[in-house]
Subunit: 408 residues, 2 copies
């Protein structure tokens, strides 16, 4: 979930640049559509390439063959090395409380979102439980909630709307920092007592994107390997869960859905997280901070945002959200958020379809605000692409002088 | 799915022997419960160990990071190397038609079963479509069909019963060879015209378990890495699909469910299948058939069945199914099936609970016939355990003299 962005409605003409492994220059010829619709985390690849073979994973043909990892764990298909690496990573970063909490591994946080919905509902209710999230909300929540037409839960849209007019039991998904708009969020629906349950989707609550303002400590928090270190192809996510029965039901869901989670990928994630954490234990004192993952990638994101804001301010066609500086416990500094997506709002007109204009005028494929439950004057652009694509995006964006005259 | 057997109702006292990696002797002390409830494919581990580093997978920290494998493929998250390896494996074995068919990768065949249900149904029908399978049916079909209380489909039990009394649209799952009883099967529900759709779950249609009587050629066929080569921990399955729209809907399901399938595991599966196929291309003529996967593992299964039948015949407490010899296109011989499970039926009494008696008298944990939609006098025992566990099982089984006096 949660920025693990679905290529669902991708246009086939954008194929070459959609491939995160493709860094060849034909990608960026002006005739090609530059696909910045998904949040494919290609930006982090260069860091891991620089690490050489330190993160190399070796698995022999006879290893990891069993379904089972540890029957004494509620999440019996979770590799102990993976659980240990997750707990260590959160302790190093300080972004979530993990002591006395259960960890549940999932096939990406997409699966964990659905596992949480399953865990928070029960068969036999008069109506499906309403699932809401404050608009603009992550564009895949509606589909991921409704595709199986469950009687347990149903997508009910914007949490602000539900706060005003909704009734009955509900689940609110709090995505913080929020995809698409990068804001740090709290729950929106108020004063409902026992009727409301929360899922905190913290896919982007990592130091390269945002100040770590406190160790998050919610009932159900989901994270993903895709956005923390950039390894989306491994399909690994995890949940940090307070309640034992919820952790048990989430594990049961994953058992019925996929009978566990790839051990190969769990072990790979453990290895990579381990190397990342080793860096902090070994190198921080040595002041080689550019070798450290979060410092290095935060620096890249900060530069991208600076370049992006320059272009956006210069051509006066779009506006970008302004984010307050906040004190970051991880870095010990007052810092600005540098979200993984640019949430562009067309200034000129209320009725404009920004996705369509960008696609038509400069052949840049973003995702329309409509998919996030808001107006079409908004468009989301991924900033997690590789450097060549990002540069090409800025060049194309700088040629737009007006939305109504369709740019150059 | 399909013999990818869920540890759902496992008893915690059976922990040590439940771990397929555990080959230490404490497992088999007479006080320990011998857990043969799941189909964990530990029997194949020794073969892959013997292969040394030929199947070793090496992945650097910067590889396989993108969500996307190939946007030109309907199944955009499938690694091209995986697809190629699957097609080659079926061509080498001759167990399924793959020319002009679509391949869809899944997180185990568990996920593909659900993807097929999604692909074969549509929202808005007056009633959920009935999902049936001939009893004894795989014990996880009911849960995997009903856990989300979908309005699209619902579990409707035994296909024989539905054939007599059922009405309306239905999906029949044909599991062949069948888990639990090892029989080769065809569809059971007859003469319904367009109302019926079929899913063929062919998890065990491989030469170590059964004669390959023809290249299977059904609309939707699912297979799994877990039972073909024994790599259950990788959670890799695939479907071979005739219709493009069905393949598209199945891929869409997997996108919404888990946003793809671990690339690490896809690449590992491709490597292992490739080495397996290389063996046939390089070695068959050299007559070193014990080095070949299917010959080697079939030999192990044949020996296990011979030893098992001796014990069962000697103590006259249970009966086992008899399987006809059939001509196997793969081996070019008339051969007997050697299923992955023993489907034991208590001879003495109609009302006996065989699972309970085995558990109480000789501390062997099987799975009751009740879970497969039939009587409790049946119990399923996995024959895919490691050699030590199998030997221990036979020793314990040979001590049973009667079901009613509870053995020794």
């Amino acid at each position: 979930m949660c920025g693990t962005d679905s290529p669902a409605s991708i246009n086939k003409s954008s194929l070459p640049s959609a491939n995160g492994n493709d860094t060849g220059s034909p990608t960026c010829s002006p005739d090609h559509v530059l696909n910045l619709e998904q949040g494919d985390p290609a930006v982090f690849e260069s860091y891991w390439r620089k690490m050489g073979d330190r993160c190399t994973m070796v698995i022999s043909g006879s290893q990891l063959m069993s379904y089972i990892s540890d029957f004494t764990n509620i999440c019996w298909f979770m590799e102990p090395e993976f659980e240990e690496a997750v707990r260590r990573l959160h302790r190093v970063v300080g972004n979530a409380v993990v002591d006395d909490r259960y960890i549940v591994v999932g096939t990406g946080s997409t699966q964990l979102y659905q596992a949480a919905l399953y865990a928070l509902t029960s068969p036999g209710g008069p109506e499906p439980v309403s699932v809401v999230s404050a608009a603009p909300y992550y564009s895949s929540y509606p589909d991921e909630t409704d595709y199986l037409c469950s009687r347990l839960y149903k997508w009910a849209g914007d949490a602000y709307e539900f706060d005003k007019n909704g009734t009955g039991p509900y689940i609110e998904v709090v995505n913080s920092p929020n995809n698409p708009d990068g804001t740090l969020r709290e729950a929106v629906v108020k004063n409902r007592g026992d009727e409301g349950k929360l899922i905190h989707d913290l896919a982007y609550y990592w130091p390269q994107y945002t100040p770590i303002i406190r160790p998050a400590d919610h009932d159900i928090m989901t994270f993903t390997f895709s956005k923390s270190t950039g390894h989306a192809g491994s399909r690994i996510g995890w949940a940090v869960v307070k309640d034992k029965e919820i952790a048990r039901k989430m594990s049961k869901f994953i058992e019925m859905c996929t009978l566990g989670v790839s051990k190969d990928s769990q072990q790979r994630a453990a290895k990579i997280m381990g190397v990342l954490c080793d860096g902090y234990q070994n190198c921080k004192s040595a002041n080689k901070s550019d070798d450290l993952f979060f410092e290095h990638t935060r620096q890249i994101m900060a530069e991208r945002w600076e370049r992006l804001r320059q272009v956006v301010e210069r051509n006066q066609v779009f506006s970008l959200p302004k984010y307050p500086k906040q004190y970051c416990l991880f870095s010990g500094e007052l810092i600005e958020p540098y979200p993984g997506f640019a949430w562009l709002e067309a200034k000129e007109e209320e009725e404009i379809d920004s996705q369509k204009v960008l696609r038509g005028s400069i052949k840049v494929q973003g995702r329309t605000g409509r998919r996030f439950g808001v107006a079409e004057k908004y468009v989301r652009i991924s900033l997690l692409c590789n450097e060549e694509e990002f540069k090409e995006f800025l060049e194309r964006l700088s040629t737009i002088k007006s939305m109504t005259s369709n740019g150059h």
